[in-house]
Symmetry: D2
Subunit: 106 residues, 4 copies
Amino acid sequence: MDKINEFRDARDWRQFHNEKDLALSISIEAAELLELFQWKEATEAVEKHPENLKDELADVLIYCYMLADNLGLDIDQIIESKLNKNTSNYPISKSKGQKDKYTELN
Amino acid sequence: MDKINEFRDARDWRQFHNEKDLALSISIEAAELLELFQWKEATEAVEKHPENLKDELADVLIYCYMLADNLGLDIDQIIESKLNKNTSNYPISKSKGQKDKYTELN
Amino acid sequence: MDKINEFRDARDWRQFHNEKDLALSISIEAAELLELFQWKEATEAVEKHPENLKDELADVLIYCYMLADNLGLDIDQIIESKLNKNTSNYPISKSKGQKDKYTELN
Amino acid sequence: MDKINEFRDARDWRQFHNEKDLALSISIEAAELLELFQWKEATEAVEKHPENLKDELADVLIYCYMLADNLGLDIDQIIESKLNKNTSNYPISKSKGQKDKYTELN
């Protein structure tokens, strides 16, 4: 996180980095990651673009970290808190081996 | 990362988690995050949905971590490596206070 | 629609065009369109990239039409049917001048 | 197009419909369409969600049409113009039966 902030502050970019454009940037980078899998099976994409996969995934993460920083959020804490909610929505007894959304589980 | 793996392994979900569907899930969650800003200024969205913002950002991160885990990647390492590339693409002298893409910088 | 089909059939591309990859392509092209607005106000983006806007919007539409064709759907009909549903969800009396989602209207 | 405009004008929504938020809405709806294919093969998704597919595809199209209308663009014309560009980028002789991006064709 320190390195990310150092990178953007050295360029005076924080002025452009409002939360809406950061959220928008996460979506854009997520789509660039997804593009590596377009018209391909998962394994084919992973074999063909190993370096690009790292870079595009890193781009998504960098913008996620910037947004978290803007909002004063602790990454580990929001993940843990969300996993706890998911644990309630997807009890092991009902969701084991099931890929259904929790609203469709029974 | 351990908690994320524990969560998905307890539910036998790794069988569904091929890299293509994980990349697709990152895009989907990124869009749910973006939806909180739809028709709103950044500040308005941040004030209106503080809890949802945490949850949706966490969802993006959880799928990013799962994909990194599937690919055997170290999060900190790919971020650092990408920041180094960006440092070359966006030299401070040219990009300070500029929001242009590096292909448009001069 | 005929021209789109002619284009893809001349290239034997229908074999790659399963519905999942078409849906994925719509998302990717939508993000390329969105990228034209990154770090910009709407008016600034529209002035700066008039040609790119046309091209990226056309790309989204082309994949939408291909998906509709794969599914045997009539574009005008699904739009009309969806507008009718929206008319129920967003009655004029409640939603006039309101930007809230219908689940939040009261 | 007339029906779409009638729908939004009856609700005074044009004030919120700047081009940036429309582009953002296209991405959001595209992701909702994509979500129908999450963790599924194409055929499985098509069989399971025929009605939702129509609705989500229609939502993407409705926002595309609104953006085109805001920009004063003719849908058929921008599609035809883009197909002509694609015809140059993807000559039949090189791209027949190939799924590579034109920058990778040889």
